[in-house]
Symmetry: C2
């Protein structure tokens, strides 16, 4: 690329960085990757790369040298390093003051309280007595370092409390207690926000989790009250603005049995609940993340189909399941409209190794196609078989 | 990628190879690139690469080592090298017997005659007398090595004949004379064909050339008689089958004032007249090229919008025009639905450096949006300004 296109440093070599590479190619914007190991998902597809530890400031300085901005595949870069990079003139997007709300669940809860955002009842706890006072059953979460269901416990009895307490102590992180919400389903409100303040809100989607891992997303969320959808979008835009988020922000929400929405989690990067946008929206979350990070005008978040369904492909526990590639002859022939996204990862039980998107006018048909394909790839057709 | 996904060698580091990288990322299929120089368009985005000369067999052997198939960004690899690679067990897709029809215009004309395909009157010529006997005015083309209008002359007088004759002699290639067709417009019928024989035909498009370079494509071709469109698709599928093409075949056609279609050129690779498919079709030509090359089931070639328009961005002759990136703030803000594809190339007058796609229901609107954006990027709003 000619010299005046800004170079973006991306910290972390997972599938989110991998999927940023596609719009970066189209936009003609060079990426420089800090990968945690050779050959990881994004390192397979981004030539300009360095292998190193994101917890090491010297490494971060090296990978951002000559880059005007840095963004992230994950939220684990230490806050003090981000401040050091900003002091050196590298724009961190999102910046450390925003990112801390995705890094630390207690900081996030405090911010939601400050903003008056609807959320479950919560408290910081540090003893069995604290938890009992908060009330059982409840959910305990380590404040930092949890992901995909790890570091989260549903505690129903006094005996359940010991493990989370020990884990938080061992990890040296605080423990958060949250009300166990009787939710009807999970929703996600995804927005992109540029440093200029310009923002775009994607349609609110419904997501299904299995064992704490995002499994299936329906865009838009079926039968969602339009006022509730607008409320969720406004909430996400307000959170993005108030916290100064740049790039993609995903606000994961509970929809309660009464139809209320409550903030569950925040993520400040392209998010699993936005993968449907690759094939289902005018501008994908990955492209809008890059545009936001570059402070370029954002692309339209409008849907391109009536319904788009994303289903994750998880590694199977069945040792008989061969290579994901072996799933192509049937999956592609069965559904010529299917969109497949594989991450270049080795199969391990329960590991996210790819996803499929399907779209169309008939939700039942779209769901069936996406579910069948994902089950086919993971070699587990279960009750979805045909 | 786990080890059983086949690796594809791609010969040539231009924008076509660059745009194959995006679906390769999604499919989880690794590419290995032979680039003609460091840092060329595709070399910026494909990590596994070798810099070398595609006319050197040892280099070709090196880049295809460990690859089950090889495909191409251009049609210039010598036929004898392709045979040598096939003898060594590397599947060339397209293979040498097919590719020669895209390499040698006389071989192509002979094949079209054999197939009974509609085409302009033609003859091989080697002297002024031959050309006069063929009849003036006519078009003279070097049989091999021409591209983007180079190696093509419209000759109207006896004096015009000397230059093409000298050029063909100097290059050591034969000269082809073709009837100067009074055409209404140019059409393109694009198909993908797998080694299994499975094939998919994209909607027939109308293309506009400027100085021999593809400038604008409208998909589908407006006001095209449906029977004529089907005839063009059937012709392209038949050519692909009869010549044994694997991958994408573009059949460039003249539509005459009488509404007949005549074969103008063949290209056996993703083609400029198919760039609209990146944003306007269910499966892009680049993805279907890779699927065909891998003998995987092809994706749907159906359009996703009523109209899609592609306009190329050409380098400006105006030295005041800055970097392409400078075009983003206005172009993206003006049209949040615009899709931009830049090639990472330095600006040179008349050089293809990118393209834009726009889509929608109103052709006039879509045309205006795409034309404005392309003109804006090249700093030349001319009569398209607003």
């Amino acid at each position: 690329m000619p010299e005046s296109a800004p170079r973006i440093a991306v910290i972390g070599g997972g599938q989110l960085a991998r999927m940023m590479a596609q719009p970066a190619i189209a936009l003609g914007v060079p990426l420089r990757l800090l990968a945690e190991a050779e050959g990881v998902s994004a390192a397979q597809v981004i030539p300009d790369q360095l292998v190193g530890d994101y917890r090491d400031l010297a490494t971060l300085r090296q990978v951002t040298d000559g880059c005007s901005v840095v963004t992230f595949d994950h939220e684990h870069v230490p806050t003090e390093h981000l401040h050091a990079l900003e002091d050196a003139g590298v724009a961190c997007r999102p910046g450390p003051e925003a990112l801390v709300h995705a890094q630390d669940k207690i900081v996030m809860r405090e911010a939601m309280t400050r903003l008056g955002a609807p959320q479950p009842r919560w408290a910081v706890v540090s003893s069995e007595g604290d938890v009992e006072e908060f009330g059982l059953p409840c959910v305990l979460k380590v404040s930092r370092g949890g992901y995909d269901g790890k570091g989260v416990w549903v505690v129903r009895t006094t005996e359940d409390i010991a493990e989370p307490l020990a884990a938080s102590e061992a990890a040296g992180v605080r423990l958060l207690a949250e009300e166990l919400v009787d939710f009807r389903r999970e929703l996600s409100a995804l927005v992109a926000r540029a440093p200029s303040g310009q923002a775009a809100a994607y349609p609110v989607v419904a997501s299904t989790q299995l064992d704490g891992i995002c499994h299936e997303v329906i865009a838009p969320a079926p039968d969602l009250d339009p006022h509730r959808a607008a409320q969720a979008q406004q909430l996400a835009l307000r959170v993005a603005g108030e916290l100064g988020v740049t790039g993609v922000l995903a606000v994961e929400l509970f929809e309660t049995s009464e139809g209320e929405i409550l903030v569950n989690e925040l993520a400040m990067r392209p998010h699993n609940t936005g993968h449907w946008t690759q094939d289902g929206a005018v501008t994908s979350q990955f492209e809008n993340h890059l545009r936001a990070v570059l402070d370029l005008p954002l692309g339209s978040p409008a849907p391109r189909a009536t319904w788009t369904v994303m289903v994750n492909i998880l590694g199977s526990a069945d040792p008989e399941v061969g290579h994901l590639y072996d799933g192509y002859p049937h999956a592609l022939a069965r559904d010529p409209q299917l969109r497949v996204h594989l991450y270049g990862k080795d199969l391990r039980p329960g590991r996210k190794v790819g996803h499929v998107n399907a779209y169309g006018d008939d939700l039942e048909d779209v769901l069936e196609r996406a579910r069948h394909a994902a089950a086919w790839f993971r070699g587990d057709l279960g009750n979805d078989s045909d």
